[in-house]
């Protein structure tokens, strides 16, 4: 069963389309990396799933049920834009309110459980407004984790977190999907972090889903390439272009795609009077895939 299934979702703000017939499928138990540039419609999609916005058209199903089903929505945890806490109340009070809201029984136990997960058990009495940006983000995650949600929606949760915070976040997400079978929809611009945990990806551009694929599909599509730098790049490009058709200049480097034999490339350049000063073997990752996809879509 799919945790999220969206068909033809459309949303406009004063005549400007934020989402234009978006289709999206998030399998149950997946960590779904939702990628797109600023203003592409990621947050709008998440807000629509959470019922904060009303769609112009389209259908949203959560675990096969309508997204307005109270039984499903009580099992949705979300962190969208900010933690949504009362600044004058303590971390504990904010979490307590959410526990009451969700109708949880062992409130103190549940609060300690989530505070332990986000490593904030010693800061429960701290006023929310006194928390640092990173701590506020962690409290927001703790709020979203209350009641062991079946679906976790996180909008840029890594923002404001330090290196250790990012690592903790990765561990939390992987753990809750493995132990509780929780599905995670996570949007982030830090693709290197997303790549470490995501099992599925969705790329959105101008309110439309450009691509949806699993991590294994991305791995399958990955192409290897040689990346090199010479003093005379124009000449090197010309020499390589004549022999290897599949080359591109990217970020001051020449990329020779689908070529593993670096020795023959170096030999060819040397024979042409071009000595390479940098050479490395690489594989296209999420960032490269995304960049290429976006450049293709833009054209």
């Amino acid at each position: 069963m799919n945790a999220i299934e969206i068909r033809g979702l459309t949303k406009s703000f004063r005549g400007m389309y934020a989402l234009d017939g978006l289709n999206m499928t998030v399998p149950e138990g997946a960590i779904y990396g939702f990628i797109g540039e600023n203003g592409s419609g990621k947050s709008t999609t998440e807000k629509l799933i959470c019922g904060h916005l009303v769609a112009d058209a389209g259908e949203i199903k959560l675990f096969g049920r309508d997204y307005n089903d109270a039984g499903v929505r009580i099992r949705v945890g979300a962190l969208i834009e900010n933690a949504g806490c009362f600044p004058g109340s303590s971390v504990y009070q904010n979490l307590r309110m959410q526990c009451i809201n969700l109708g949880l029984d062992d409130i103190d136990g549940e609060i300690m459980r989530v505070l332990k997960i986000v490593r904030m058990e010693d800061n429960a009495s701290l006023k929310f407004k006194s928390c640092s940006l990173g701590m506020k983000q962690r409290v927001g995650i703790a709020m979203a984790l209350l009641g062991k949600p079946a679906l976790l929606i996180l909008d840029e949760p890594i923002n404001g977190l330090d290196t250790d915070g990012m690592r903790i976040m990765r561990e939390i997400l992987v753990d809750i999907t493995r132990t509780h079978g929780c599905t995670v929809l996570i949007s982030s611009h830090i693709l290197s972090e997303l790549e470490k945990i995501a099992t599925h990806y969705g790329v959105i551009c101008r309110g439309r889903m450009v691509a949806e694929l699993s991590a294994s599909e991305l791995e399958g599509r990955s192409r290897s390439y040689l990346s090199l730098k010479c003093q005379d790049m124009d000449r090197a490009y010309k020499i390589l272009k004549d022999t290897y058709g599949n080359i591109r200049a990217v970020d001051g480097y020449i990329r020779v795609y689908d070529e593993d034999d670096s020795a023959s490339v170096v030999k060819l350049l040397c024979e042409g009077g071009c000595i390479p000063c940098e050479l490395s073997k690489n594989k296209i990752g999420l960032l490269e895939y995304y960049t290429e996809l976006m450049s293709g879509w833009g054209e």
Binding site: V54, I74, M97
Partner: protein, 276 residues
């Protein structure tokens, strides 16, 4: 692993949201500040009415009886002096501002996102806010009663009163709190993105300016002003020191009717519009 979902009942949903609202209400200073205001204002009015003027001459007291600070002697749809105005109906003005701050804080903090994420049924929000704020306004009525009575006794006003009518008048005003709280909740849902407008609209409606205008027209046309009891302000004024059981029943019916109407309208707005 198969994920299972249990549909919460209406009671469970409302209790969850009411629990949050009452926890917030009782654990933040806002409520207690307004309780204090509700007690201090009638005490100040009572004290000021017998204070000598700037020239040292004794002023004429506005009231002749301690209970007139609680309710007027008879329904006064058209107020002619500040004394007619300054009674327990002022609680609805303070209450309106309190409701605006209470709901405005939901939106300013972003907590409303948590509420709407877990509660897709928008009537939960309307019902919970209306009931919580009605409770707060009833508490403010009690606080007003204590402040006004103590100050009135200290000032030395006459205490003669028809006790059942006084009790019915106070109960009537307490009952009206539900209708007023629903109105303010509705107004602040409409102006949820504009906190200042929310406060201003609550104040505007709380003062009863609209109904006073309607009453003035009715008065000018020599119409029976009791038809104004169908409005919140009319019934609130009708709960006075000459009240009978019929007044309380009217207050109950009017308050409940308007509460239902405003809750339905508020739910409709929340269902059709972006909530955050």
């Amino acid at each position: 692993m198969k994920t299972e979902f249990k549909e919460p009942t209406l009671k469970e949903r409302i209790l969850g949201m009411l629990g949050v609202d009452f926890y917030r209400l009782l654990n933040t200073p806002l409520f207690y500040i307004f309780l204090a205001i509700s007690a201090i204002i009638p005490a100040m009015v009572s004290a000021m009415t017998v204070m000598p003027g700037p020239d040292g001459a004794a002023s004429t007291p506005l009231y002749s009886n301690v209970w007139q600070i609680i309710a007027a002697g008879e329904p006064l749809y058209v107020v002619k002096s500040i004394a007619d105005y300054a009674n327990m109906n002022m609680v609805y003005i303070f209450g309106g501002i309190m409701v605006s701050i209470f709901i405005g804080h939901d939106y300013n903090s972003g907590y409303v996102k948590q509420l709407f994420t877990s509660h897709p049924k928008k009537q939960d929000y309307m019902i919970s806010k209306s009931l919580t704020c009605a409770f707060a306004m009833v508490c403010m009525c009690v606080s007003y009663f204590i402040g006004g009575t103590v100050a009135g006794l200290l000032v030395g006003y006459d205490t003669a009163v028809n006790v059942p009518s006084l009790i019915l008048a106070i109960l009537g005003k307490c009952v009206m709190s539900l209708g007023w709280a629903s109105l303010y909740t509705f107004l602040n849902i409409i102006f949820r993105r504009y906190f200042g407008l929310g406060v201003a609209s609550s104040f505007f409606f709380g003062t009863g300016i609209l109904i006073i205008g309607a009453a003035a027209i009715a008065d000018g046309l020599s119409l029976d002003p009791s038809f104004l009891n169908i409005f919140l302000y009319g019934s609130s004024v009708n709960a006075c020191l000459s009240s009978g059981l019929g007044t309380l029943i009217i207050c109950l019916l009017v308050s409940l009717s308007w509460a239902v109407i405003y809750n339905l309208l508020g739910t409709l707005v929340l269902d059709r519009c972006d909530v955050y």
